[in-house]
């Protein structure tokens, strides 16, 4: 089987590859979003902690 035959999928390339492509896109988004959300929350909490510390330092 040649590579172009493989990509042609017996004439069904549009249907097969768009199915696989869409699956890839949806799975990547679903992986990326919570990952970023997690990092964002961590960053925010760390910033808050630093600010709290500064307030403590200035008040004492």
């Amino acid at each position: 089987m040649s590579l172009s035959e493989f990509f042609n999928m017996g004439g069904y390339a549009v249907f097969v590859w768009s199915s696989y492509g869409l699956t890839l896109v949806v799975l990547v988004i679903n992986w990326l979003l919570p990952y970023q959300q997690h990092k964002k929350t961590l960053r925010k909490l760390k910033r808050q902690l630093r600010q709290d510390k500064q307030i403590d330092d200035t008040s004492t």
């Binding site: 017996g10 249907f15 097969v16 799975l27 992986w31 919570p34 997690h38 909490l45």
Partner: protein
């Protein structure tokens, strides 16, 4: 044994414990997922022969069927968490329930769209309002309903209980989806793998299908763990363990 189990269950339900364990597991699960996907795709797209009737178009099966299975499985997970939420008011179950919903909605969406892309060349149409397709569409609306309802209620503990009820009531749709192809006339083919007879699919196609199904299941766990970790951190932001985590 039972005592050991309840102890394990309680420990698992503690947010800092779950946060840590899930974090430890994630890289291993991701590695295993990668191996399964590569093996499944190679088996499905390269090794498996073309179908004698459908030619190469049938290869959509390797994403369509695992996605459809996951759409049902994740709903069952959500409903199970719903019961735990209503009966034991377990906080972790609330978070797992609502974290599972977007992943479930995604797989339902994928099952519908890849099915539609398969239907066009084989049935001659992207969509028919038959029992299987319609009940799967209702499943998507149930998932979206869960997400929307949770977002609409500000008190998240109240929201979780409302969503738990919705998830449990919606379970009635699951057997309808599964048996729809037997109870009603449908363009959709009957079950080939999940029936009591031997599966009527050749092993060269069955093995990559099962590999992809397993990969999708792992993917669900990975995505779920990530969401649960993010949500735990946010909800428990004022607790001691989060403070210690941030400090370190």
């Amino acid at each position: 044994m039972f005592k050991w189990f309840t102890k394990w269950f309680h420990r698992l339900g503690s947010p800092p414990h779950f946060y840590r364990i899930a974090g430890l597991w994630l890289p291993w699960l991701s590695g295993l997922f990668g191996i399964l996907v590569i093996a499944g795709l190679y088996g499905g797209l390269v090794l498996a022969p073309p179908d004698y009737q459908q030619g190469e178009s049938y290869r959509i099966i390797f994403v369509h069927v695992p996605a459809a299975w996951m759409s049902l499985f994740i709903y069952m997970v959500m409903a199970f968490c719903g019961v735990v939420v209503l009966v034991w008011r377990m906080k972790l179950a609330e978070i797992v329930l609502i974290s599972a919903a977007p992943v479930g909605a995604s797989f339902t969406f994928l099952a519908l769209v890849t099915g539609s892309l398969w239907g066009k060349p084989m049935w001659g149409t992207y969509w028919v309002w038959d029992a299987r397709l319609t009940s799967e569409l209702i499943l998507l609306f149930l998932y979206l309903g869960v997400i929307g309802l949770y977002g609409a209620i500000d008190d998240k503990r109240v929201a979780a209980r409302a969503v738990a009820t919705l998830a449990i009531v919606g379970v009635v749709n699951i057997p309808i989806i599964h048996y729809s192809v037997e109870w009603w006339n449908s363009l959709h083919q009957g079950p080939t793998v999940t029936k009591f007879d031997k599966p009527s699919i050749h092993w060269s196609m069955l093995i990559p299908l099962l590999l992809m199904a397993l990969a999708f299941k792992l993917y669900f766990i990975i995505s779920l763990f990530q969401r649960v970790r993010a949500e735990l951190l946010h909800r428990e932001r004022n607790s001691r363990w989060v403070e210690e985590l941030i400090r370190s």
